[in-house]
Symmetry: C2
Subunit: 377 residues, 2 copies
Amino acid sequence: MDERAYFERLDSTASDPAELFEHFEQRSVGGRTTHVLPSARHGIERGTVILDAADAIVRGYPSIPRVLALDAGVTSFFESGESIFAEEKLDGFNVRVADVGDEGPLAFTRGGYVCPYTTARVRDLLDLGEFFATHPEMMLCAELIGPETPYTTHDYAEVDSDAIRVFDVRDRESAVPLAVSERRELCVRYDFPQPRLFGRYDRSEATEEIWSAIEELDADGREGVVMKTADSDSMVKYTTESKHHDELADAFSLPFDLGRDFVFSRITREVFQAAEFDESDERLRERAHDLGESILLPAVETVRRIESGETVGQRHRVRGGHDDIDALLDHLRDLSLTIEVEADYRENGQRVVEFLKVAESTVDRTTYYLEGGTYDE
Amino acid sequence: MDERAYFERLDSTASDPAELFEHFEQRSVGGRTTHVLPSARHGIERGTVILDAADAIVRGYPSIPRVLALDAGVTSFFESGESIFAEEKLDGFNVRVADVGDEGPLAFTRGGYVCPYTTARVRDLLDLGEFFATHPEMMLCAELIGPETPYTTHDYAEVDSDAIRVFDVRDRESAVPLAVSERRELCVRYDFPQPRLFGRYDRSEATEEIWSAIEELDADGREGVVMKTADSDSMVKYTTESKHHDELADAFSLPFDLGRDFVFSRITREVFQAAEFDESDERLRERAHDLGESILLPAVETVRRIESGETVGQRHRVRGGHDDIDALLDHLRDLSLTIEVEADYRENGQRVVEFLKVAESTVDRTTYYLEGGTYDE
């Protein structure tokens, strides 16, 4: 690979190619060689992929900063007089869809892998041919949502199995996004489903409007809001109480796999939201009780399940073509996950597979403690 | 210092003096030069101190392992037929008192520092002269408890200001403990107050007896139990729900100083205790609500205090001689703590000082978020 040429195209903050490319790792999957940046470096996003054979760059999706204090965050993050677009943030699996090489469009995960299952789903759910014929230089940034995905299982009233929402469209090589209005029109034109737009607000009214959106989303058990400048170049997120509690409940159903990493940050979000918006002691206490239940109840259930001999982990159901699902299971095993297939059948002409991603640490640590194992502090 | 000679005396698992002594650090405080092991290495306890001028070794107090599942822990930790002594574990400040050199007995902290305040307190509260005249090779392992100490503030009904409890007596150089009965008799002989002995149990009855002790301690807001073999050589601890919740409440009153490190381990203790002993859903939910309140309420209060301009931290009140208290404040500042003296007056012939250990991280991070600061995930 011509590092000098890619270095010029990537326009990073590194001072020479070696400084940047020492952080890339080469991966060969399914006859495809990629160079991937596994974590953000020198101004280049995590998951940025170089496909040398196609002479193509697919930039990673940037990490969206979060505010903990909504009103102060809105005021400090946006300029006075600037419009703030608020769109719904969905709880799903973030992929970038790009048409590189001659295999047809591919779905790249946050970590820079090509997911064969999501690739098949986006090809099925979106009319990509027409879009990429006109916009070969673009990538669609999309969320795979719904109860039947291999990664997330959050239920949306409007999604039976799975669905795609396009929330950003960017230049694949420079990562420059389309402006919000332009992107939303483009998605309408190509019939790409997109997340709800709550509105375009002046900074002075934004907190009130966004808090009201958050309350509505919270009541429906939905995740939160992304606020963007009109050019889509700056964005910041804010999430609901129910999202925090759901994440804690998921994490503490597998405490030694997810609990440790999740707990402090989610509690912190709760603390600042409560300090800003919980006006009565009663409201605050109710939030505290829900928080405690989110942490303790799933963890106790998991301990009891393991005690009775069950294997625990994350359960998923996926449906699609026979080979797409084989490719998915191979992909997950390549990522070193332990997969137990619990059901594999056909329904309405499709293959349906239910599987468990085994939570090895939770099973091992819990068993150790249940057998009387000690830990030293 | 003659490393070879100390190496032989320490009887570590290191293969040569260099391998062991590279982990020691030299400290000079108040004209006293010590070599201290800041964390456990090669079978030698954290806080082990060598005082070369006195040709003395003061071994650290070992970290006591903890069981999460009481019944399984008792069964796997102790041998069948072995007696198990259960003593109360107190919530205070652990020191070792040793008579080395010609300054009189000194109180060494867990980290291997000499605390001038605790030294003054143990000299005042215990009749050390007679003890060390007979047992110069021993060290007293003691807990400084009560609401008026510079380190902990836990209230005990029986302690007005502060008090000492001797819970172990060991050979200062080999760390070999006296047997439980022998130590308890010795403490009676020298009139050293000691923690409560719940009893001596056969392994088959221990869980039931200890759980009943835990329930009694929990109702009184006390910490827990240490179980020991008769020779005191093996020990394991188990703590109450109220202790877990109190610790979380303390930690989350200063979330960015203490919360992050404390939260996961305390939740884990709660989870296993609940899985073992919370028989009804109602009891489990009550524990969950208390857990949630312990986490959320103090943290929200702290955020609101910082928002209104207060400085937060740990508040302590100490009383003693004028110079002892000066030495304490110097000692704390030497440890890089930020100390704000809030009151300094005389009462019943003693100097009383109230001070705040400022929680710098909590003040800084909270202020940053309250001003709209973002974090990137």
